[in-house]
Symmetry: C2
Subunit: 234 residues, 2 copies
């Protein structure tokens, strides 16, 4: 049994990863970042997911608004969603995963953990460069070189969703019993999910393609998901 | 003229680097971290150094005490200094440079900077793994891969002190006119430097070996430095 940190945002991907890591029998420790995101409801979701999974969780406060330049941490409008976006959307916080993984590395060093699980994904990854496999490999090398001796000098960054589509992620999590009803994905941060931002569209498309109904409540479903629900009821 | 960030801690090394970067004619932007260090007097030093060099400076607040495990960010005692230490001293904040460089990378991305200057040093480096050249090279690669397009995709981490002894650093800075009288190095964080912690000993040894008097005031000089002052007065 080895010690592992799991980055837990309260979203669908990281909840799938936490459920997966738990199922592997590692000693799991959750890590959430309160980074000034407009959707603070995420923090409540990750707290509830950790509680459900029986995982101890630590919250690190780092205000990314000091760094700036993202609609997720400012008052600017979130772009209307697109399932097939070209280029980098305005929800991009530059270097967010670099910063999160650096801090996770430091904590892994202190706790004697040899693994960091993260829910990055390069298929439906919305164009973020710090989700790519070559980035993750280089980050792992950097942490091994930059941390002290002990288990962290052989630290692995494990990204089990790296090559999965959103539909495959939903299927995997559903099979493992991931508590999707406690998750939160919407970029707009309301109590109910909007159903129209990039994140909601990607999530609903994933559930649809997996043939599974999303347990979350939405203000309004996009047409493709309404069609799916109709087909499912037949 | 290219844009460059310079990590400025208010200490001797980073002040040498900032003076050097300024002398190269780049458009310099200073970056200081308020990370819960017990020696907050550093922040005042870096502010004064930036002002003297005519450099705009940004302070990022990130409380490393959330991560823990260093006498520099806790109430535990700083180890009595040693000039020839084996292993990693208890002033080590794991992953500090990884975290600082990640944040610097994000800011470089936003500002369109193509260089980050940092005063790490692998000769008199006090045993910190995140000061080694192979770590710096890997970190540069990680930032290039993890950041968006533009100048940051070809970002360089420049560590001009990497292979210099403290004496060589002092000579270099003195030739370039680095304002050493405004710097602060002591781990104990008093108004006057203690003269006995690792950092004071390393600094005074460097000045001694460079044959230059340290302009700072100390509570008590170590014997080797008193001998140096006596020899110098003859």
């Amino acid at each position: 049994m080895s010690k592992a940190l799991v980055l837990m945002s309260g979203g669908l991907d990281s909840t799938t990863v936490a459920t997966y890591a738990k199922s592997r029998g590692d000693e799991i420790f959750g890590l959430s970042f309160n980074y000034g995101q407009r959707h603070v409801i995420e923090m409540e979701s990750s707290r509830r997911v950790a509680e459900r999974l029986g995982v101890e969780r630590k919250v690190i406060n780092i205000d990314m608004r000091q760094i700036g330049s993202s609609s997720l941490t400012s008052e600017s409008e979130v772009d209307e969603g697109s399932v097939n976006r070209e280029g980098i959307p305005n929800t991009y916080v530059p270097g967010r995963n670099i910063i999160f993984l650096s801090i996770a590395g430091a904590l892994a060093d202190i706790k004697g953990a040899s693994k960091i699980y993260i829910g990055v994904n390069s298929v439906d990854y919305s164009g973020y460069p710090d989700c790519r496999p070559d980035f993750i490999g280089s980050m792992q090398n950097t942490l091994r070189l930059g941390l002290a001796n002990g288990p962290s000098s052989n630290l692995s960054i494990i990204a089990p969703l790296q090559k999965l589509s959103k539909a495959e992620i939903v299927r995997m999590g559903t099979e493992l019993g991931a508590p999707y009803e406690l998750t939160y994905s919407c970029y707009r941060g309301g109590t109910k999910s909007c159903g129209h931002c990039d994140s909601c569209l990607l999530r609903l498309k994933g559930f649809m393609e997996a043939g599974i109904e999303d347990p979350l409540q939405y203000i309004e479903y996009p047409d493709f998901y309404l069609d799916f629900l109709k087909r499912k009821k037949k």
